[in-house]
Subunit: 224 residues, 4 copies
DNA sequence: TATGAATGAGACTTCATTCAT
DNA sequence: GATGAATGAAGTCTCATTCAT
């Protein structure tokens, strides 16, 4: 019924300890995710959610405890899937530059899929007093960063990557390139003539991905 | 009283046609800007604004018409100042690479100063049905993009910059690198040991700026 | 519990399509009706309604959607009952003059019962930009006018009623006589010594009704 | 500048004791009159008045004391002009039936001219607790009624008018016929094909006036 | 005389949640 | 397990009036 990879979800659920989601809960999550992305957390009312999901208004409190807990559930549910499959890329036999290309392609695919909730996370996470607990998100991010650092440092040791590069800032450059495009989609769609949703998706997976790959490879090999 | 460059504001005002802001209005704007950045638009109530600004709650409507009009005023007020002074950089006698460095430094300074309202703009502007009129913001963005494109194309003609680069995607890479760092400030502050506000500011103006400068120069000169 | 003829209401409801009123809703309607009559639409606050009806202030929106929708509901509810039972009067065996007498008596009873909301309708309906949808009211009015016209024209054909009479203006004369008395009740109560509410009711059903009956019969048989 | 008969106004002003209206006040009155007619008393804000009259919002309180006092001033100003010139009609040499015709024509002209404020008076005066003092209006009404009664009784003595007629109810029939048409203007304009404002005016002064004249004459001479 | 900034009160509506069923 | 009626709190905005200028 949903385009969610149930297997992964279950893995993740185990990792978090509890969390068992019924089909109805998943339905609510999916609907809410879109509404949150459209209107933000405060801009989305439980009324709206209930109506869109075609459920009783009391169900949100009933199933998730509160609106905030619902957000937390969604974030944990979605963000967690963000863990990139770098391991297998790292252990394949290709060159370091190819590895970087592959990882970037994977990252872009991931964040494009989860862009809606990521947007909300960007917003909520950067607040002084976030409404929800982002410890899971944080842990995930740090893990990914570590994996990436390991790869780059290995490349540096082999003399393939420049040592002047600030590794910690590469991830922001990758993700930021995507998100800044996404946040200014209206402008760039016009500039690049992307009138349909599919056009934008296509653009992201080809032109943007190539640009970022090129950028990162350039920076990794650049010597002043 | 405020850290606003009044001269520039007035210039901009002329450009916009009207807009005369009293000191009280400026005070409200400043307070609101912070609250919006902290809590978002929907998360900030006029009650909150009035209380923080120590004014009567009716003053918001009185001065700005409505909460949304207030946001619009703030955006026009802030975003407009975003027009970069590329012209003089372009016309100075330095090399193209130096020009790029200078422009990036200017951009970073600008967006760091306006980051709070930019965050809100990112959020509201990328919605399907934005609450406010962003035509001014859009115009500004497109203008800036054009200026930048002109510079790069000139450099390409002179054989200094690679022709493989996707010029339209450079701006997202610059801005995105900054904003992704900002949106994940909590993570990167920890990673880079930036515990005080000033530390982060300093980091942005030195390490991050250098990283971005290096990145853009790399991409502009990269040949596969 | 209420003086409402539930049977008729239900009939009307079927005619309108939907509309199911709970007892609580009926209670609110009744209270509101009086307040609207006393203070007008704009002069009545939902606060006032809630307090008088002894309900939570949010119930008005909850049940009716908005204050205006509440008015609309009341009007549809009341006005609809205005459909006169002329048919049976027309088909009884009495003389045309008797029929006119009966119909006038029925009309006066009806409008006296619904005078409060009628007053509001007079006011709102005659505005340039009415706040509510009066299509139902309009339809009802036109229907009634048509029924009346049919009767008079039949009487004219039989040579009983004068042909000089302006049929469309008879209804305004009937209703207007009542309402002008009602709107100037304070004056006429004094003139006719009607000090109690019941005295006025009595006066309406006897003296005023006779006056109107006499008036209409006079005009229908008058030959210059 | 205004279509007001200043002479009469001054006479009336003397009658009321005080009241001196500057041109600006008259301007406000005129504007307010229309707004009150359009939106009712509670539906009209001083803001609206100030804006429409192109004056400062504080002027209303400044000139008239309060919004309610403004209404009172308008009513006294307008209603007072309602005093009909029956005297000269009574003393002219024509027949009683002609006198009635003339008086009705005068009345219709008067109330059509003052219909807007009359509507408001109908509404406010019939409230249990009117917001303003209507003693002047009341006095005027009673005077007029007395004049009319005198005429009819004289006609009855001469054997021209029936003695069965309820004199006090004739005025409501006259005024009511007009106002019920006016309050349902939307319906009757359609029925009579009166699409332009002038058409309606014309209809009032010809067809409606004739109908009422005919009606009153009929009732005055009707013998069962 | 005339202004407009400023205010406290109150307008209508929607909020997230609870609780009896 | 699930509902929906009901609620108190808070949302934004407009109200008529005042007061210093």
């Amino acid at each position: 019924m949903f385009d969610l990879n149930n297997c992964l979800i279950l893995c993740r659920i185990i990792d978090l300890g509890i969390m068992e989601l019924s089909e109805k809960q998943l339905h609510i999550i999916k609907v809410t995710e879109e509404l949150f992305a459209k209107n933000g957390f405060d801009g989305t009312s439980v009324r709206m959610i209930a109506k869109t999901a075609n459920i009783n208004i009391a169900m949100i409190s009933y199933y998730f405890g509160s609106k905030e807990k619902l957000l937390e559930t969604i974030v944990n549910y979605r963000i967690s899937n963000f863990k990139i499959e770098i391991d297998q890329v790292i252990s394949d036999g290709t060159s370091y530059l190819n590895k970087v290309d592959s990882i970037i392609a994977i990252i872009i695919k991931r964040i494009h899929k989860g862009r809606r909730i990521q947007k909300l996370v960007h917003f909520e996470f950067s607040r002084e007093n976030p409404k929800i607990d982002f410890s899971n998100y944080l842990k995930q991010k740090e893990e990914n960063l570590e994996l990436f650092r390991t790869l780059i440092e290995a490349g540096q040791k082999e003399g393939i990557f420049s040592k002047d590069v600030n590794i910690e800032l590469i991830i922001p450059t990758i993700l930021g390139s995507y998100f800044n495009l996404y946040y200014n989609k209206k402008i760039y769609s016009k500039v690049h003539g992307l009138f349909k949703e599919e056009d934008f998706d296509q653009f992201v997976f080809t032109t943007l991905t190539q640009h970022i790959q090129r950028t990162i490879k350039a920076i990794l090999t650049y010597e002043e």
